[in-house]
Amino acid sequence: MPQREGSPFTGLATVALKEAADHMTSARIHLVMLLVLLTAIGAVYAAIGQISQTVSEDQFLFLRLLTTAQEPLPSFVAFLGFLLPLVAIALGFDAINGEYNRRTMSRILSQPIYRDALLTGKFLGCLLVIAQCLLVLWLLVIGLGILLLGLPPSGEEILRGLAFLLASFVYAGVWLGVAMVFSTIFRSPATSALATLTVWLLFTIFWPMLSPLIAGAVVPVDPFDPMTAVNQVEVQRAIARISPNTLFGEMTLAILNPETRSLGIVFANQLSQAVIGAPLPVSQSLMLIWPQLCCMIAALLVLFTGAYVSFQRQEIRA
C-alpha cells in the first residue's frame, strides 16, 4: 500500500465539537442525565440524613457522603456504577450506524477528512460530554455536602474525590467503547443498542453470580487441602475482574474508604502489627487501585481499536 498523505487529524476538532453539541441538545441525553441527577441527589440526600445522625468522630465525612447507603436507597457510588454505563451506551450505541441510516456517511467522508477523524472525533465528543456530566455531578454533590453538612472538604478528600472522578470517567469510557464497537458492527441501531445492553446486563447482574460458579467448576475445593480454597477465591476474583463493574467497585472502595488495605484476601499474619481501621495515605490508596485503573484504560484502548479496525474495513456504500 502506498503511504497516504495528509494528517488523519484533519477535521477532528470539528467532528468532536459537533458531536458534543448534538448530544448536549438531544432529548435522549437530557432524559438519561435527568435520571442520573435525580437518583444521585436522592442518594446523597439520604446519606446526609444518615450522617447527621451519627455522633462518632469521622475523619472523612465528605467521602461518607458518596459511600453511605440508607435503605432502601443504595449509595451514590453504587448508583453511578449502575447508571454510568447507561449514559455511555445512550451516547454511543448509534454513533457509526446512525450515520449510515441517515445516509450522511458518504457525504461526510467525501469531505477532505479521513475516516480516523470521524471515529476518533465521535469518541472524543462523547468523552467530552461524559466528562462534563461527571464534573457537574461531582461539583453538585460537593456543593450539597458543604451546604447541608456545613463542613468544607479537606485537601485529602478533594484529592480522593478527583481520583474517583477519574475512575468514573474511565469506567464510562469503557462502556462507551463497547457501544461504539457494536455501532460499527451492526447496521441497525436497535440491534447495537440491544447488544450493548445485553453485555451491560451480563456484567452488572449475571457476572457476580457466574464467577463463583465458573471458579467452582475450574478449581474445585479439596476439603483436606486448605490451599485449594485460597486458590478458588483467587480464581474467582480473577474471573470477576473481567467485568468493568468489578474493577470500578474495587477502585471506588479503595479510594473512598481510606481504611481499605487490600482488594484481595488477607491472612491474619499479614495483619500483625497493623493498626486496624487506620486510614492509608492517598498515595498508598492510589497504589492499590493502580492495576485496576490501568486495566480499564487498556480495555478502553482495546475496544476503541476494535471499533477502529472494523470501521476502517467497512464499505461506505449503504
Partner: protein
Amino acid sequence: MNTVIETRDLVKHYGRHAAVDGLDLTVEKGEVFGLLGPNGAGKTTTILLLLGLTEPTSGAVRVIGLDPLRNPLEVKRRVGYLPDQIGFYDNLTARENLLYTARLTGLSTAEANTLIGEALDRVRLTHAADRRVGTFSRGMRQRLGLAEVLIKRAEIAILDEPTSGLDPQSTQELLELIVELGREGITIVLSSHLLSMVQTICNRVALFNRGRIGLMGRVADLTSDVLGGTHVVEVEAGDVDLRAALDGAPHITGVTEQRPGFWRVDADADARPEIARRVVAAGGLLRTMSIRHTTLDEVYVRFFEEDKIHAAA
C-alpha cells in the same frame, strides 16, 4: 492534455462479484459527462473509486493528476460529491448542515457563512435556510446537496443519480442548475439510470453494463453508430411490405416490423417525404407517420441485446 479524470483497467470485486470489471474512462476538463446504465451496473462503485472512498482490487485512477488512494484529502478538497439519496442531519437547519461540512473542508466560520449565503441563494433555498432539514422535500435536499458542492468551490462535481425520485418540475430545475454549473467551467460527472433524461445535458456519455463500459462517446455519434440513425419514423401502413418498398432509399438505415401494419424506420435524417412517396407508389395505404429523435434508451437496449446474443452464441 486537459484530462481531469482517468482510469486504467479499473477492477473492483465485492467478494466474487465484480462490480467494476476493467474500466477505462477519461473525462476532459469542462465536460458534462454522463455515466449511464441500469441499477447495479457499477456506476456508484465507479464514483466511490474516483473519490477514494473504496479501494480498487486492481487498476489505476487519476483525478486531477492525483491518486485518490494516496492523496485522498487533496482529491476530496477539489472534488464535490452529491451522493445517491443524499442524507442530512434532520435535527439541524440547512445552514447548520452546510456549516458543518464547510468547517470540515477547512473554511473558517466567517468565510463559510458568506459562501453558504451565496450558495443557498443560487439553489433558491434562502427562504428555508433556517428551517430544519427534516422538513425538506426530496427536491430541496437535492438542491441543498448541490449547494454543498458550490461551497466547496469544487473543480469537479460528481453527482450520483441527482434526479432520481424527483417530480418532473424539480428534475427540470435541478438539470438547469447542473447545466449552469457546467457553463461556468466546472467539470461534471453525473450518473443516472434515466438515460433519455440526461442525454440532453451531457456532452459525452458512457453506457455501463455489468461493470464494463459498453459504449462511450457523444450522444449523436452513439445513436448513429448503434442504430445507424438519429431519427426514428414510426409508420402505420397497410397492404405494403415496407421493407421491400424502402429498399435502397436514401437516409434509411433500418426497417423493422413491430407488429402487423406498424413499422419502425431508422434514418439519419428526416426521411418522411421519401417514405410517404414509396408507400403510395407501392400501392400501400399510409395511415399515420411520426418522427422523433432516437433516445439513448433505444441505443442501450439495442446494443446490449446484441451483446447478450453474442454472449449466448
